[in-house]
């Protein structure tokens, strides 16, 4: 016997969501989805949740189990019963429509923005009207580069716990960015430069904060944060420098090459860009504040011992900047 504490919300009656407890004899081997179904079928027909495939393929059954998103159909109930209880809520970063069902419009709209279709010679940017409908073959090695992102089932588990999205809904988010990597690195796609330029704009690849939640919550093999890192690497390789993210990386690498450690006095200036007057002005209050508390890094920036060896390594990588 376990108690399922489930978040309920009916927009026609309730102002705010509330939790309702259900007692259930959990059958051996039952998944969380089995339990939700049992509750709905035997105790309370008004409980509303999504499901379709019941085999971790369609992505529709994602809910928060004990605080974090999981595919209900892929999660063993026994593993999630803590002290005789399990808490189930709708996934985060989405508007609740009813009980465990959320509105995914915003989530889907981000995919549209990254043009999730192959841009080929003659296909234009709309994905329509390719005059050249020949087969485009791909080597196993080339496919390997887009394999991980291809496993996305669009369940929105990654977005549910994304910290950057929680603070800024305009962020493209882990799912759409992973999808973007799937096309940027597709050997048959000819839109790479334009794609990477667009993705380097505000609310794109440089807004990921490395919190790792998406990697942790993804029930497939996408590892969205790693896909975003790969997009950044591509952007740096192509040389899209007109943004703070790329300048930050360049400044950072430059300092480690020169002294083995960061120079926190100068790096923010390099990240902002020396011609970015509002950006530079925004650094002043925090700079003064830190100076007054004696927190500013030493003015004379000393390099580490054995700097020659570190520089030698950089030179091997031709990172002399």
């Amino acid at each position: 016997m376990a108690i399922f504490s489930i978040q309920r919300f009916n927009p026609e009656k309730d102002n705010v969501p509330c939790f309702k407890d259900y007692e259930l004899n959990v059958p051996e081997g039952a998944t969380v989805l089995d339990c939700l179904n049992l509750i709905k079928w035997t105790q309370d027909g008004t409980l509303t949740h999504r499901m379709s495939c019941r085999s971790a393929i369609c992505g529709s059954c994602a809910v928060r189990v004990n605080g974090h998103p999981k595919l209900a159909c892929k999660t063993q109930a026994a593993d999630e019963i803590i002290g005789g209880r399990m808490k189930i809520e709708p996934i985060g970063n989405a508007k609740v429509l009813k009980d465990l069902v959320v509105d995914l419009e915003l989530f889907y709209s981000k995919f549209q923005k990254v043009k999730p279709w192959l841009i080929t010679e003659g296909s234009g940017v709309t994905g329509q009207g390719s005059e050249n409908n020949k087969e485009r073959r791909q080597s196993p090695e080339d496919f390997h580069r887009i394999d991980a992102a291809s496993t996305c089932i669009m369940c929105a588990c990654c977005v549910s716990d994304c910290n950057s999205w929680a603070a800024n809904e305009k962020f493209l988010g882990p799912a759409a960015l992973a999808k973007a990597q799937r096309f940027v690195d597709d050997s048959r796609d000819v839109g790479t430069l334009k794609r990477i330029k667009d993705l380097s704009e505000a609310n794109g690849i440089w807004d990921c904060t490395h919190c790792g939640e998406c990697v942790e919550r993804c029930p497939a093999e996408v590892k969205p944060m790693d896909r975003i890192i790969s997009l950044r690497t591509t952007s740096l390789k192509i040389g899209i420098w007109n943004n703070n993210g790329a300048r930050h990386v360049r400044g950072f690498v430059d300092f480690i090459y020169k002294s083995g450690r960061l120079n926190e006095n100068i790096l923010p200036v390099k990240s902002m860009g020396i011609f970015n007057i509002p950006g530079l002005l925004s650094l002043i209050p925090v700079g003064i504040r830190m100076f007054l508390k004696g927190k500013n890094p030493p003015i004379i920036h000393r390099h580490i011992d054995e700097m020659d060896d570190v520089r030698r390594i950089f030179r091997k990588f031709k990172q002399k900047t």
């Binding site: 950057s164 960061l262 580490i304």
Partner: protein, 287 residues
């Protein structure tokens, strides 16, 4: 007990109170430290965006130097810890990569064998030193001080790179706070992101991330926050006046580095712990 002490950049730069408090606590507990002065920055997940192999090579060099001393590495920065473990797992799991890296290290006289232990001070206090033993060193128990733990992402996620067996359910910081006589605040923000990595790219969004957790901790009556990551500390403390504006509350929530909280309970002089080097005053806590 002796460790190869990896200070990281911030403890030698904008967060020198982290360095002084770590050294003071280690001394008091009889933990011997060999400070590594000839190692580079871990790359903080930034160098690896430019070139993952370069980043791994720099870290392998650090690992090799610790191995030559026959010591495990002690980190005092959550980000360094996470980045290093990720680098180590990547190298150890790929013999070809390891050989490549050692080929580059060879000319500098180093070779990474692949067995160095990498631990954050938090892990060392809990796993190696032991909380029972730590309890016997407590001279000034925190007497119900409500301390909100703030883990920082890199100690927890991705969990394959975490020293905690189940990061979602870890209570390491809470256990430590309790042993010191404090009262851990239970709130969702404890495992959330401070936003620091994007403070230069999208300041508003970055500080809003800090704001979400700070506000929640404040609402749960926290007297202070404690974090094992100095990058979190930079956002949470240095930018708190800006965060106040975003959350439209005067938060006034002091942010302590992990060894500072330990140091207070051990009765170490607050000056030595650098308690005066905070943007949000810590005076209230010292009374």
């Amino acid at each position: 007990m002796k460790y190869a002490f990896y200070t990281g950049c911030v403890a030698k730069g904008a967060g020198r109170e982290l360095y002084s408090s770590s050294v003071a606590v280690a001394k008091r507990l009889g933990i011997e430290l060999h400070e590594l002065t000839n190692v580079s920055c871990c790359g903080a997940g930034v160098i690896s965006e430019k070139d993952p192999l370069l980043s791994d090579t720099l870290n392998a060099r650090t690992f090799a130097i610790a191995e030559e001393l026959n010591l495990g590495i002690m980190n005092i920065c959550g980000t360094c810890q996470g980045v290093m473990v990720k680098a180590q797992k990547g190298i150890d799991g790929d013999t070809k990569r390891k050989d490549n890296i050692n080929e580059i290290l060879k000319d500098g006289g180093h070779r990474y064998k692949g067995k160095v232990k990498i631990k954050h001070l938090l892990h060392i206090l809990i796993e190696d030193f032991g909380l029972d033993k730590l309890k016997t060193f407590v001279k000034k128990p925190l007497r119900g001080l409500k301390a909100a733990p703030f883990y920082g992402c890199y100690l927890l996620r991705p969990s394959v790179y975490s020293n905690f067996s189940s990061p979602d359910r870890t209570t390491a910081l809470e256990d430590l706070i309790t042993v010191l006589g404090g009262e851990p605040v239970n709130y969702e923000g404890k495992s959330k992101c401070c936003g620091f990595p994007i403070v230069m790219m999208n300041k508003e969004s970055s500080l809003a991330m800090s704001g979400i957790s700070l506000k929640e901790a404040k609402e749960k009556d926290a007297d202070c926050l404690v974090t094992p990551c100095p990058l979190c500390h930079l956002n949470l403390d240095s930018y708190q006046p800006e965060i106040d504006k975003i959350v439209q509350t005067k938060l006034n929530l002091p942010i302590l580095h992990l060894p500072q909280l330990v140091g207070i309970a051990l009765g170490i002089d607050p000056k030595e712990l650098g308690m005066n080097k905070h943007i949000v005053s810590t005076e209230m806590l010292l009374k």
